[in-house]
């Protein structure tokens, strides 16, 4: 089969994008992360053109260029050379778009996944400063060390039971 004449459906493109990993958290695909907004397929007469629209997790996210390059490579490997990458800021990315399986993969990787509502046992207020389940031992006896961790999208916490520090993927 000559792969250059193969036409792909939108659903097949989505499947291919599953193989593109987040460069900073390589256990997550860009679909797990929820940053792919649209896929559009068009026949240009010179071959099939695929347009993939992505949204940044953070304004200054340095991984965006690499993600765009990796999408091109992934599609080129199956013979799609006409690739357009679009960027869209609104609606702004939210951790709600992260898939459940993505959250499980994060946890297995040692990063606490975003949790929407944690009630502080002491103050009774909703906050992300205490009670984030430790990805190592599962204890909720944990506290915030810093609002910013190894990347802008993560905060640094520590477990008061197993004493391990851990990254927490912030609600956004």
């Amino acid at each position: 089969m000559d792969i250059h004449t193969t036409e792909y459906t939108v659903a097949e493109i989505w499947q291919l994008l599953e193989k593109v990993a987040d460069p900073e958290v390589p256990v997550l695909s860009i679909l797990d992360l929820g940053i792919v907004r649209h896929v559009h397929v068009e026949d240009t007469g010179r071959g099939q053109q695929v347009e993939v629209t992505i949204t940044p997790t953070y304004s200054g996210c340095p991984a965006m260029d690499m993600i765009a390059a990796n999408i091109r490579i992934e599609l080129m490997m199956v013979g799609i050379s006409l690739v357009k990458i679009g960027y869209q800021l609104s609606p702004a990315w939210t951790t709600d778009w992260m898939t459940d399986s993505g959250k499980e993969k994060l946890k297995a990787y040692g990063i606490a996944p975003p949790v929407a509502l944690v009630r502080d046992q002491e103050t009774g207020k909703i906050s992300e400063d205490r009670g984030i389940p430790c990805p190592q031992c599962g204890s909720v006896n944990t506290e915030l060390i810093s609002h910013f961790g190894s990347t802008a999208c993560k905060a640094l916490h520590r477990c008061l039971d197993c004493k391990e520090p851990f990254d927490y993927f912030k609600c956004h």
């Binding site: 940044p56 953070y58 304004s59 200054g60 996210c61 340095p62 869209q88 800021l89 609104s90 609606p91 702004a92 990315w93 060390i145 810093s146 609002h147 910013f148 961790g149 190894s150 990347t151 802008a152 640094l156 912030k170 956004h172």
Partner: protein
């Protein structure tokens, strides 16, 4: 809302979509973010603890990202309307984001004076972030409803980020203000020094008056900032917030040195790329 206020709002909307005013405003927001980012990144590798070094670097990165979004948008508008701003010589259409950040001269930058001031000690840097982050939160909240959809989209994105900056810097102002005798004294001095520069946040110009409700901006800023300062046992200075000039391109001597470093590579190797 009566008919008269409706009329006023319609007029405001019309001038808020004027491309020249929109470009000037967009450049101003971008300038603020890029200079703030450049200044804060001087702390990289020098923070008092690894976690805080990382925190400030991440905040600097957020501002860099916001600056890029606004410069990209300004470049797009400039190219579309053929409205070249005041500029270093030798630049031609189409302009790119880098032209705007790296090829404008100091008097062509319209950032607030506060963001170009040297960092000085950690407490003073934190206080500067605290003032600026509250200002950013205020303008982004208003820009969510901007008639220009891309400005509104960038504001929506940025707002989520500055909320964390507000939280982080407020925690530090509290910790140091209501800390030891020495930290309290240093914070009070820093406050005395920086306070006169905060009046510029609410200064009216031909290009911001129809885009931002400056009275509302100041009202919210004053209440929120003063409430944290009071909790931190710091006294709000009674001096007037008199420092001014940035919006007209009249800067402190600090900006030139900052730009000399930031723009060096693009000045020596114009249009070089990664």
């Amino acid at each position: 809302m009566n008919d008269q206020t409706m009329d006023v709002m319609d007029t405001n909307k019309a001038s808020a979509t004027n491309p020249q005013l929109l470009i000037t405003y967009t450049l101003h927001v971008a300038d603020n973010a890029v200079i703030m980012s450049q200044r804060l990144s001087e702390w990289t590798g020098h923070g008092p603890a690894l976690e805080q070094d990382i925190a400030l670097t991440n905040i600097a990165l957020d501002y860099l990202g916001q600056a890029r979004n606004f410069y990209q948008h300004a470049a797009m508008l400039i190219n579309e309307h053929r409205l070249m701003p005041a500029f270093a010589p030798g630049r031609t259409y189409p302009l790119q984001e880098d032209d705007l950040a790296y090829h404008r001269l100091e008097h062509q930058f319209s950032n607030h004076l506060l963001v170009e001031l040297p960092n000085d000690h950690w407490g003073q840097t934190v206080l500067k972030v605290f003032f600026f982050a509250h200002h950013q939160m205020g303008i982004y909240q208003q820009l969510l409803k901007d008639p220009d959809p891309q400005v509104a989209a960038i504001a929506e994105k940025s707002l989520k980020e500055v909320k964390y900056h507000v939280k982080w810097s407020s925690d530090w102002v509290l910790r140091l203000g209501d800390g030891t005798e020495e930290s309290h004294e240093k914070m009070q001095k820093a406050l005395q020094y920086l306070w006169p520069f905060t009046g510029e946040f609410f200064e009216k110009t031909s290009w911001n008056e129809d885009r931002i409700n400056l009275e509302a901006l100041q009202q919210v800023w004053d209440i929120e900032v003063q409430s944290v300062l009071e909790q931190s046992t710091l006294l709000v200075p009674s001096i007037t917030r008199f420092q001014t000039g940035g919006l007209k391109g009249i800067h402190t001597e600090n900006l030139g040195f900052l730009l000399a470093e930031m723009q060096y590579l693009q000045r020596v190797y114009p249009d070089s790329n990664w």
